[in-house]
C-alpha cells in the first residue's frame, strides 16, 4: 500500500508543509468524492472509496506532528509490538527516582518541584527532538537511518514522561 507521503507527493519529513497538505487533501477529496463516480462500475466505486479513506487517514496523520513522528518510525519498523529498544541506564534511573519521589509527595511544594523538574526534562527532550527532525529530509539514506534510531530513542523516552505526567495530573487533582 502507498504511504501517506507518496500519496500526497511530498518528501518524507517530520515537518511536512501544512498548507500544501491541506491543499492536497481538498483536491483529492474532490477527486475521490463518491458522488462524482456514481455511474462507475462496482469495482471502480470500491476503489474510489478506498482512496477516499486513504486520503482522510493521510490528512489526519500528516497534520498532527505527534502522529507524523509515530508514523515515520512505524514505516521504518522502529516502533513495533514487542520492540525492545535499549534506553540509557541513567535515564531509567532518573525515571525510577522521579516515580519514587512522586509516590512520597506530601506537600504542594514537593509537587511543584517535581513538576518543574519534569517540565525541564520535557523541554530538553523536545529541543533535542526538534534538532534531530528539522533537517531529516535533507539527509542521505545512511544518515537518515542513524538519525531515525536516535529519534526512536526520544520517542520511547517521551513515553516515560507521559506516564509521569499522568501521575502528576492525578496528584494535582488530589491536592
Amino acid at each position: 500500500m502507498m504511504n501517506y507521503f507518496e500519496f500526497y507527493d511530498i518528501p518524507e519529513s517530520f515537518h511536512p508543509d501544512a498548507a500544501h497538505i491541506k491543499k492536497q487533501f481538498y483536491a483529492l477529496s474532490k477527486q475521490f468524492h463518491p458522488d462524482f463516480h456514481a455511474n462507475a462500475d462496482d469495482e471502480k466505486q470500491q476503489e474510489i472509496l478506498e482512496l477516499s479513506t486513504l486520503n482522510n487517514k493521510a490528512y489526519q496523520t500528516l497534520s498532527d506532528p505527534n502522529k507524523v513522528l509515530e508514523y515515520i518510525l512505524k514505516l521504518h519498523d522502529l516502533v513495533s509490538e514487542g520492540a525492545k529498544p535499549q534506553l540509557p541506564a541513567d535515564f531509567l534511573m532518573e525515571m525510577m527516582d522521579i516515580n519514587e519521589r512522586l509516590m512520597e509527595i506530601e506537600s504542594a511544594e514537593q509537587f511543584g518541584e517535581i513538576s518543574a523538574e519534569v517540565a525541564a526534562i520535557e523541554g530538553d527532550m523536545n529541543q533535542e527532538l526538534n534538532s534531530l527532525t528539522r533537517d531529516y529530509d535533507t539527509l542521505n539514506d545512511t544518515a537518515k537511518e542513524n538519525r531515525l534510531n536516535e529519534i526512536a530513542n526520544i520517542y520511547y523516552r517521551q513515553k516515560y514522561l507521559l506516564r509521569i505526567k499522568e501521575s502528576l495530573d492525578t496528584f494535582a487533582a488530589r491536592l
Partner: protein, 137 residues
C-alpha cells in the same frame, strides 16, 4: 481486559516491595524498562556465601501485570541458588499469573530484571556477566 485473581492478589498486596543496599557487594540490582508503555522495574537480590538468594526486593512503576510479575519473581527468588534463579523463564510467570498474550511483555521484563540483577551481582564479585540471549517467548 480481566486480570486473573493471582494478578489482582499480587497487585493489591505486593510482596517484597522495597530496596536493598545497592552498594553492598552481596546485593545485585537490575533496572529495566519497557519503553513501549513507560514501565520501569527495579529488582534486587541479596546473595549469601553459599550462592543462595536470601532476600529479594522490587519496585515497579507500571501496570498491574508488571507489578504482579515482579512481585511473584521476588517470591520465587528467595531461597533459590543463583544458578536456579537464572533458569526462571518468563513463560513460568505467564503460566502462574495466567497473563493474557498482550501482557506477556510484563513477564519478559521481570525475567530481564532477574538476569540483570544476577549479572550485576556477578560483576561486583569479579565474575563474568552471563551472556543473555535476546529472544524470548
Amino acid at each position: 481486559m480481566a486480570y486473573s485473581d493471582k494478578v489482582i492478589d499480587h497487585y493489591t498486596n505486593p510482596r517484597n516491595v522495597g530496596t536493598l543496599d545497592k552498594s553492598s557487594h552481596k546485593v545485585g540490582t537490575g533496572l529495566v524498562g519497557a519503553p513501549e508503555c513507560g514501565d520501569v522495574m527495579r529488582l534486587q537480590i541479596q546473595v549469601d556465601d553459599n550462592n543462595i538468594i536470601t532476600d529479594a526486593k522490587f519496585k515497579t512503576f507500571g501496570c498491574g501485570s508488571a507489578i504482579a510479575s515482579s512481585s511473584l519473581a521476588t517470591e520465587w527468588l528467595k531461597g533459590k541458588s543463583v544458578d536456579d534463579a537464572m533458569k526462571i523463564d518468563n513463560m513460568d510467570i505467564v503460566e502462574e499469573l495466567a497473563l493474557p498474550p498482550v501482557k506477556i511483555h510484563c513477564s519478559v521484563l521481570a525475567e530481564d530484571a532477574i538476569k540483570a540483577a544476577i549479572n550485576d551481582y556477578r560483576v561486583k564479585n569479579g565474575m563474568e556477566p552471563i551472556e543473555l540471549e535476546k529472544s524470548h517467548h
